[in-house]
């Protein structure tokens, strides 16, 4: 059975494709994404409060490296096979090296719905993996130094809404611990599915808007948008196995690796690499990769993870 939240995405997609009048107020979309980010952060912080933090440090190193390596691989593929120019290849690569909160949330929901648990540090990975791809992408396009306002880039990437709310939520969850979280549990945990459903309705509308751009870009972008996440998911599972993760953790790390950013990276790239075509990246990320991951990718990553570590650990 397809997840119920995904049906909301399909409704939005359909409504967008038939040019329905349906439109969510932008403020609602912003508010829902805030609730999702905080909920994911709180949940992670709550879990972390029950374990020691020290073993996390090497794991953070691994996922930072993973994000950087993904960006490099995507860059080489886009440059050589895709015949993109250097700046556009770097900009698109940065999107694919980074991560998508919405995809992660759908992954969390997919696992929750099946009663599969996952490691509490995954939300930290979500926050941490947003940044390295941005830096690597800019360096690939520009080289070090010259012509880049690093201060602006740093503020955009480290103090962006996503990172602040995720890490802030984690800190609150960690300080409060499970018992003190009880009063806010109804909003952030019980309503998570409902909030995600409305959020995905809007995502469907946004994705529908990419179709005309996608039609112009042709087969390579579509193939790239499907194959690249598959390759990265395998890399993610490899890293997860090295860290001794459970099937749930592996599935989510694969989902993170496979996902591509459509909020933090586009905004930063627009500022850092203004000559890159933002329509190109968004068509690939939103038009292909996001729907692929939430409709087909996540179940495949879970299946792959269970095959590799042997069933129901």
């Amino acid at each position: 059975m397809i997840d119920i939240v995904v049906l909301f995405f399909l409704l939005g997609l359909l409504a967008g494709l038939v040019r329905s009048e349906l439109k969510l107020p932008p403020a609602l979309y912003d508010s829902l994404s805030m609730v999702l980010l905080l909920a994911i952060g709180l949940k992670g912080g709550e879990g972390l409060a029950q374990q020691s933090l020290l073993p996390l440090l090497p794991q953070l190193g691994i996922v930072v490296l993973l994000g950087a390596v993904q960006t490099l691989i995507a860059f080489v593929v886009l440059l050589s096979l895709g015949r993109f120019d250097r700046v556009n290849a770097a900009a698109i690569a940065a999107h694919y090296g980074s991560v998508s909160v919405a995809t992660f949330a759908v992954g969390v929901n997919w696992l929750n719905a099946r009663g599969i648990s996952f490691e509490p540090q995954l939300p930290i990975f979500l926050a941490v993996m947003e940044v390295p791809a941005i830096l690597v992408g800019i360096m690939l396009a520009r080289g070090l130094g010259r012509g880049t306002n690093w201060q602006l880039i740093a503020r955009e990437s480290f103090l962006g809404k996503g990172v602040v709310l995720l890490l802030g939520g984690m800190a609150i969850g960690w300080i409060a611990g499970p018992e003190n979280l009880t009063p806010i549990r109804p909003l952030f945990f019980d309503l998570f599915k409902g909030v995600l459903a409305i959020f995905l309705l809007e995502m469907g509308l946004i994705v529908a808007r990419q179709t005309s751009e996608l039609r112009r870009r042709g087969l390579f972008v579509i193939a790239f948008g499907v194959i690249m996440p598959g390759v990265f998911a395998v890399l993610g599972i490899g890293c997860g196995i090295a860290m001794g993760f459970s099937v749930g953790g592996l599935t989510l790390l694969a989902t993170l690796a496979a996902s591509a950013s459509y909020i933090a990276v586009p905004a930063t790239m627009r500022l850092a690499l203004p000559e890159a075509n933002p329509g190109l990246s968004l068509a690939a990320v939103l038009g292909v990769t996001f729907p692929f991951n939430i409709l087909i990718g996540i179940p495949i990553y879970h299946w792959l993870a269970s095959m590799l570590v042997g069933g129901n650990s």
Binding site: P26, L152, R270, L271
Partner: protein, 102 residues
Amino acid sequence: MTLENKKRVLLTLVTEAVVEQSLLADLDRLGVRGYTVSNARGRGAHGMRDASWDEAANIRVEVICKRELAEIVFAHLRDKYYANYAMITFLHEIEIMRPEKF
């Protein structure tokens, strides 16, 4: 006070919301003393900008200043933003109250 003293120009920019911070920092640096920013939507060479989410959001920035300053601002915007960002700029001649503010 003569009417001449009350003449200023109203400089209006319509551009991508993503450049807001960088643009306002530039205006401050060039000596603009005040501005008004509002959210905007519309259609142009970059397609429909319906503000439905961040990537499709526009802003309208209005600045009242002397013509000389407006020309400096125009030159700066042309060099820094015209090539790669969606940006429309235009000027009105206006008469103002309280000329000491502009």
